[in-house]
Each structure stands twice: as structure tokens, then as C-alpha cells.
Symmetry: C2
Subunit: 389 residues, 2 copies
């Protein structure tokens, strides 16, 4: 087990009707709020009105800032920073999924910073402070509601970069599973894949003697394997939506990483795809991950056998561990298919014409390997693309 | 699944050498520290000198306050409050196990309060503020290093009461598994039982559709069942000590309770035993819990079958679920025996002469049932005592 520092200060308010508490929670932190949201579905669903009522009742002023979209754009972040400064806002409330939240977090970093906010994402600067962020979650997926991360796409340079800092971990996250009933099946599936992936990227580690976190990861994954395969037929089943929503937070709040070193190369590869092709993050991961597994599993066969047996319920073939491992990989790929996810690049119209560009960017021009389980050079990433052609 | 609010703000610094960071961490919160510890083992081990050096290097003043002991006493808490006020301390650092930490937390509540600190434990008052507490943990057991709870014994009235409030959740907890190598086997075993019990008391719930937390609980319990049975032969095995230490925190930071309603009647009964007999908390729990299981398992047989199969690795007898459940209970009792724990009252010289008094106090004179899984009246508690006579 590795040394670690772990802190997790987001106050979670989980369950039916919790959105009505947003005014009271916000009031603890600010008086004038930038209200960040996405495409407007929160207006159709009536959530927006509820939020406005709760904020108003609490005596909190707000400024609307809509338009956040998947693979959230740097240009919108810059706009938000300008608007937030102009309006002298002292708190940011994101209502939506990972895109709204990540946009809000990036604005929170940018407002008190004199330079360009991209400096943080490009690794050029470290922030000294940030505006506090609160969240009402409507799409369980990114885990951004209680994570320290924000992922932003620089659409001019075709770069998608993540940045993590405890300064932008939301101070509260309101989660009502009922708010997720209306998510379309495809978006639900993308979210479920992302949730599983945040744990899978940590599960595949070379660090030994991490049984407790292994078992916590396995418990979360088993739950998600079951619920992800059933939620499409039962979109308004509170029991399924609630397990998925809570798993989404725990999967990415760093608990599952305590004492271990995660991999995250599937995420890194997908970020390159998302920067160019603008496909849904979860769909990209569903394509990359099974291929990654097939490419790396021999590197640490025991771990893939453990995954197959403990998570995917494969009966162990003691004479043939490779067969056991491959059966586990096959089952997760089949689960993704059952969920309606693509598992090949061709299914999302990604040809091989820009593989080289993506593999190159992912490895800084083949100068830096990505991932930790089996660090991948440019050649390896091309091989992985081949496996999910 | 039930609605819940969950927040967990303790910064965990886990691993070898982390105690050297105590000065820097303390300095973020205070300038003059009350240093609360137990019987002096930290002086023999050299830990005290390390702490003094780190505090001094960080420019933090401190006032020593030793003498905390198991079933921590109200009289010592009152002394600490007096001393802390006189010395104008602005932070409390507990170095030790649950007793030192719970003493520190109670002092933290008492210093800013004009009345008597017992008011909080007796449920007569709610605190408005508290001095911040930090921890260096040397005995994994109580989970107090990141919990919101303090349990104090009023030795005049023979009452042992717990009180929980986020105000007293430690702001940091330093955990170096190496500091636990020298714990004697009996104390190690008591700690392991306590850690398991914090999850078991939450695992046995009547709330349905809590699969994620079920599986997290099961993962923690499986890990503890394995490590608890092995640590005595390998007291200086970092791998075992580390898993136990981290499990101790997660077991009692409320994560395992999210969405469910715990029971805690075994704890309640043990507190009555501890108030009169001053036996080790973990030993008392090892006696009460298997008897509690035998008394209540038919109330929700499915849950006890699940426990037997998923935690205690019992092969399910589909024709005879009672047999499966009882085998699970038998295995945990046998594990406690293997660990050197008592499992009968006679083993710790508790005769039946004060059963009535304890059962009566536990149920407020038979006016209030204890626990949630199967609420217990006075008669039930007497029956449980009979089962562990």
C-alpha cells in the first residue's frame, strides 16, 4: 500500500426533494450567484423554477449563465469569467451534469486569476484561490459533483485537458435521483460507463496489498454492472437511479484510489478522441477500454483474473487463467453492447486517418508514456486503436 | 434507500512517517495546542519526542495533558476544559486511540460552553461551537479519528454516553500503521472487533435497496475477517496493520450508513457493561454481538443469510436458510475466539447480579426500546444476556 492524503469535503444532500434546500445551502457561502447550466432542459423539467424559488426565498441573488455543453468549451469558460467578474458574483452554482459543473469549476478558477484560465489546464500555473462552487446534479456520470477535477476542451487547439485541485471541489452537492428519470437511454448508458471507468481506472494497479480498496472497488463495480444492465428498461425506478447516482460520486471522490496508483490511460486516449470528434465521453470509453484490456491483460494476469471472478462473476478456470481473464473482458464488452454503447471506432465513424495525430498528442509526440498499469507509448496506442478499429 | 446527508471533512494523512507533518498541519488551525494523550506509552515509543519536535519546528506552542484512559472519564474532561481555558489554547491535538481522541473532543466542546459539558452527552443542550481537534492515531479501533462521535463515561452516575456532532469531527488525522506494531495482541483484537462492529451495526438494517452500501460493508468486513485472524502472528506486518488502520476510519465515518438506518443495539448494551465493569469496549462487543445475532436473526433471515454467504464465505444451503444463517453467526463467534476475545460474560467475571440494572438503564427503565433492526425492550436484553451468560 502506498502513502496517501485523502480529504473529501463536499457536503452531500441525497434523496427526494433535496433540491429545495439549495437556497439555504448556497446562503452559507455567498450572496450573489452565477447560475451555470446547460442546454435548457432544466427549464423544461421545472427544476429551474424550483431553484429560483429556493434561492429567492433564501435572499440570494443570481445571474443566469446557460449553454454549457458536452466536452465543455474554453470559450464559454472565458465568457463566464468575464460575466462573473462584471457581476461581482461570490459563488457559483452549477445545475446539470459534468459539463455544467466542469464549466463552473473552470470559471471559479479563472475569476480571481489575472492571467488566462487555460494556464492551469496547460500546467503552466497553479491557482492561489477560487470562487466556491455548489452543485445540483442531474446527470450521474463524471463524478464532478464531489471531485477535485475539471475537464475542459480548448476548441482552438483541439486539446481536452483535465485539472485537479481541492480548491474546486464543490462545497455541496444536491442529488435527487428523481431528477435523472428523464435522461435518455443513451445518455444514461454513457454515464454508467463513465462511473464504472472511474473505478476501473483505479482498480487496474500494480500496487499490491490494497485489499480493502480492491474490495470497495469490486463492490461498486458489481453494483454498477447489475444496475447498468437494468436501468434502460426501468428509467423511473428510484432504486436503480439512486444506486447509480451515489456510485457516481464515490467512484470519483478519490476513496477508491487511497493507497494505490491508478492508470487512467483509457481516459487519456478518450480525451484525444473527444477533442477532435466530440463524441460522448462514456461512448468513447466504452470503445477504448475493452481494447485496452485485451492489449495489456498479460502484463498482470492475476489482476485480470481477479476482475473476472470477483466483478464479472466468471467461474475461475484454474488450469487456464488467460481464458478466465478473457472471459471477464468479454463480459464487460458485452455489457457495454447491451447498454447500447459502441465498442468499435467504426460505429462512431472514426476512421484511421487521425489515429497517428491522436496517439501522438496523447504521448506528447511520443516523448512521454501515458498510464501507469502498463505505460503506453505512441505505438501501443495505435495497437489499441487497431483492436477497436 | 433513505435520504441522507453525508459530509466527511477530515484530512487523512496516511502512511509511513506522516507523523512528521503534525506541526505543519496543526499550524493551519492554531497557535497554542492542548496535547491530549493517554498513559504515557507515546513517551516510551519515542512518538512524543517526534511530535514535540514537529510542533516546535512549526512554531506551535503546546500544553501537555496526559492521563486519558479506556472508557474515558468525565472528571478528566472537566480538568482538561479548565486547563485549556486557563492556558487559552486554540487547538487540541490528540495523540493515541479512541480514549485520548474522545477526551479531546469532549474538551473541545466544553471550552467554549458556559455550562457543564455533560449537558451535551445527556442530551440537554446542543453546542454552538467547539475548539478544532486534530489527531495522531496509534490505536485503530474507535474510528474516532474521523468520526463525529465522542463517548464519555460519567463515573459518578455510572453512565457511558455517546454524542455526535460535525463540530468535533477532527480536521486532520495522521495515521502511520507502523505506530501500531507495538499494540499488544489483546488490544489489537479489541480494536479489530470494534472496527468490524461499526460496520456490522450498519449492515444489519431493514432498509431495502441499498446494494451499493451493502457491498461496501461486505468488502470492508471480508477484509477485516481476513486481517483480524492473521495480525496476531504478524504484529509488525505493515500490510496487515495498514488495512486494519484504514478500515477503522472508513468503518465509522458514516459512509457505510449512507441511505440506510443502522442498529447499534450491541453498542448500546455494551456501553452499559462498560459503564459498570470497565471492560475493554471491543471485548464487550465480542460477547454481546453473537448473542444478539442468535436472538434476532429470524426477524430478517434473508439478511443473515446474505451475511453468512457474502461475508463469512458460508456455502448457501438453499433448502435450509436458517442453517446457513446460523453457520455465519457461528463463524464470526469462532473468529472472535481465535482472536483471543471473550464471548461469554462469565469469561470477564460478569455475573447475573446486575443484568437487570444494565437492561433497565439501556431501555430508560423499560420505557424506550433500543436499536432499529429489531428494537429491544428490557426483557429482550435480559434474553440476550442469557445467550452469552
Amino acid at each position: 500500500m502506498e502513502n496517501f492524503v485523502f480529504g473529501y469535503c463536499t457536503k452531500i444532500l441525497f434523496g427526494r426533494g433535496m433540491e429545495d434546500k439549495v437556497g439555504a445551502e448556497t446562503k452559507r457561502h455567498g450572496k450573489k450567484v452565477l447560475l451555470v447550466y446547460g442546454g435548457g432542459s432544466i427549464k423544461k423539467s421545472g427544476l429551474f423554477d424550483k431553484v429560483v424559488k429556493s434561492l429567492t426565498n433564501a435572499g440570494v441573488e443570481f445571474v443566469e449563465f446557460g449553454g454549457a455543453q458536452p466536452n465543455p468549451r474554453l470559450s464559454l469558460v472565458r465568457e463566464g469569467i468575464k460575466s462573473g467578474r462584471g457581476q461581482k458574483i461570490d459563488f457559483i452554482l452549477a445545475v446539470g451534469g459534468g459539463s455544467a459543473i466542469d464549466t463552473a469549476k473552470a470559471i471559479a478558477l479563472g475569476i480571481p486569476y489575472e492571467g488566462d484560465v487555460w494556464d492551469f489546464f496547460a500546467g503552466k500555473q497553479k491557482p492561489q484561490s477560487a470562487i466556491k462552487v455548489g452543485v445540483i446534479l442531474t446527470i450521474p456520470a463524471a463524478g464532478s459533483e464531489s471531485s477535485m477535477f475539471s475537464v475542459i476542451t480548448n476548441e482552438t487547439e483541439l486539446l481536452k485537458c483535465g485539472y485537479g485541485n481541492d480548491l474546486i471541489r464543490p462545497v455541496f452537492a444536491i442529488m435527487n435521483p428523481e431528477l435523472t428519470y428523464t435522461l435518455p437511454p443513451y445518455q444514461t448508458a454513457c454515464g454508467c460507463v463513465d462511473i464504472m471507468m472511474h473505478t476501473l481506472e483505479r482498480y487496474f494497479t500494480n500496487v499490491t496489498d490494497v485489499e480493502l480498496t480492491d474490495r470497495l472497488c469490486e463492490g461498486l463495480l458489481k453494483t454498477m454492472v447489475d444496475k447498468s444492465g437494468r436501468v434502460f428498461e426501468n428509467p423511473d425506478d428510484y432504486r436503480l437511479r439512486a444506486e447509480i447516482m451515489w456510485a457516481g460520486s464515490i467512484s470519483h471522490n478519490n476513496l477508491m484510489e487511497t493507497g494505490r496508483i491508478g492508470d487512467f490511460s483509457s481516459h487519456d486516449i478518450e480525451h484525444e478522441m473527444g477533442a477532435i470528434y466530440d463524441i460522448a465521453h462514456g461512448a468513447g470509453l466504452a470503445i477504448v477500454f475493452p481494447a485496452w484490456c485485451k492489449y495489456v491483460f498479460r502484463h498482470n494476469l492475476k489482476r485480470f483474473v481477479q476482475f473476472a471472478v470477483r466483478v464479472m462473476n466468471v467461474e475461475q478456470d484454474f488450469e487456464n487463467p488467460e481464458r478466465t481473464a478473457l472471459e471477464g473482458i468479454d463480459r464487460i464488452e458485452k455489457l457495454f453492447v447491451k447498454m447500447g454503447m459502441p465498442v468499435r471506432l467504426s460505429q462512431v465513424n472514426i476512421g484511421d486517418d487521425r489515429w497517428d495525430e491522436m496517439a501522438s498528442k496523447c504521448t506528447k509526440g511520443d516523448t512521454k508514456k501515458t498510464g501507469n498499469f502498463l505505460p503506453l507509448a505512441k505505438r501501443d496506442i495505435l495497437n489499441i486503436f487497431e483492436l477497436c478499429r
